[in-house]
């Protein structure tokens, strides 16, 4: 018995140690990843919610309270709950008297390397974009990532014209990027030298998202004049 198994081992290397090593290491690694995920998950979700909250107030200068609304299948805004899809959700910002300052809208599109996610503020009174923050991007460090920090580029988004055309369904002039320093219209964005593709990507994301959302928000802004309940989530009027 003993010698038979010894012969067997000499002919074929035992496969039990191979299984043991692969399954054992896989088990240890799996446990490690899942426990780190479980431990850091809530912290990461909290960080992301805080970053979105901060960004909403940054793109809507003058806002002190916010409420989130979801665009329902009926084409009207409803107060957003837990499971609302971010693509269908806008964040209304209100000043101290409870008047609507503007609406922060999330948009995304392809950049030079990967998807760029951004948040921009639309003020229906002045019919302009009043702020823009990049939420996440993987643009080239030192070049493409200037879309997040470059002061001259960011100045484009203090009063970017997105006026509604006479038909109420589209914009008078679509948002477009032009070569750095050649901006002539209030709907144009001065690009960045050395980050042409990234700045054009921002303009394309804004053009697409504003064409979809701006006429809608302009028409339905009455529904957003809710009663905000301080910072954070509100369930609005039923």
């Amino acid at each position: 018995m003993h010698s038979a198994s010894g012969q067997h081992n000499a002919a074929h290397p035992p496969i039990w140690p191979l299984y043991r090593a692969l399954v054992g290491v896989g088990l240890v690694c799996g446990l490690l990843i899942v426990s780190v995920f479980v431990l850091t998950g809530p912290v990461i979700a909290r960080n992301e919610a805080a970053a979105l909250q901060r960004a909403v107030f940054q793109v809507l200068p003058g806002a002190v309270a916010k409420a989130s609304f979801e665009l329902g299948p009926d084409g009207n805004f409803h107060p957003a709950g837990q499971g609302s899809a971010p693509q269908q959700t806008v964040h209304a910002g209100y000043d101290a008297e409870g008047h609507l300052v503007g609406v922060a809208i999330e948009a995304q599109g392809m950049g030079y390397q990967d998807t760029i996610r951004l948040l921009y503020g639309y003020a229906p009174q002045s019919q302009t974009v009043v702020g823009m923050e990049v939420l996440s991007s993987k643009e080239t460090p030192g070049l493409g990532d200037k879309i997040e920090k470059d002061p001259a580029f960011r100045a484009n988004f203090r009063a970017l014209d997105v006026g509604i055309a006479a038909d109420g369904q589209s914009l008078q002039r679509p948002v477009e990027a032009v070569k750095s320093g050649s901006k002539t219209l209030p709907s144009q964005i001065d690009g960045i030298t050395g980050a042409t593709i990234s700045s054009k990507a921002i303009a394309a994301i804004l053009r697409q998202s504003s064409a979809q959302w701006v006429p809608l928000v302009y028409r339905l802004q009455g529904e957003l004049e809710g009663e905000p309940e301080g910072e954070g989530q509100t369930d609005g009027g039923s």
Partner: protein, 218 residues
């Protein structure tokens, strides 16, 4: 006798740490892990963060590989090493997201690159799978610090010339026109070539001096 043994052992472990810094520097001598070396060194802060993240993964994977070295058969060693490395890279990724989203935004594109850094697999295969845990940790630390030092050499030089600053602090008057090429991918190749030139020159000079000293003694 026992004292001499202990001295020899401690000299050996010091050497495990020291060799990665200079004599066997992973970038300038072994020329390993070129992907992050070229891709992430366009600023000193990116280089430092990448170096530290790599060191973290290197030390932990060396530790686990050395701990399990008698348990992993040769036939499946590559698969298990890769699994261990990928696990620690994922852990680092989540930890950085939990510590600071801003830091993760600055590094996000590069963290996952650590999985395919051949320096880490190379140390697991060449060192940790054959040596004790203590020596493997020291080896990982030394190689990690040497790697970080090399990344800082490249990142510092490229940021100074390419952006006119170091760690984001402006060094030159506003009239300075930065050499954009230095922060572009091609600048990485130029800078790496110049550093390799310098290191090989130093090595040749030391060799010539050693040869001369030998001849004189003979």
């Amino acid at each position: 006798m026992a004292g001499a043994d202990r001295n020899a052992a401690s000299a050996m472990s010091t050497d495990d740490f020291i060799k990665g810094l200079w004599r066997e520097n992973p970038v300038f001598v072994q020329v390993l892990g070129m992907c992050p070396v070229l891709a992430v060194t366009n600023s000193a802060i990116n280089a430092l963060a990448m170096g530290l993240a790599t060191t973290f993964v290197l030390v932990l994977s060396n530790t686990l590989v050395a701990t399990l070295r008698h348990f992993i058969p040769r036939q499946v060693r590559i698969a298990t090493f890769i699994l261990i490395i990928a696990t620690f890279v994922t852990v680092v990724d989540y930890l950085i997201q939990a510590i600071s989203l801003d830091l993760h935004r600055a590094l996000g594109a590069f963290i996952s690159l650590i999985v395919v850094n051949c320096l880490i697999l190379g140390r697991a295969e060449a060192f940790a799978s054959k040596n004790t845990v203590t020596r493997s940790v020291l080896d990982g630390l030394g190689m990690g610090v040497g790697f970080t030092f090399a990344l800082l050499c490249l990142g510092g030089a490229r940021e100074i010339f390419g952006s006119g600053s170091l760690f984001g602090v402006a060094l030159f008057p506003a009239a300075y026109q930065p050499w954009i090429v230095m922060i572009l991918p091609s600048g990485g190749f130029f800078t790496l070539a110049l550093w390799l030139l310098l290191f090989n020159h130093l090595k040749l000079r030391r060799q010539a001096r050693d040869d001369l000293a030998q001849e004189v003694t003979q």
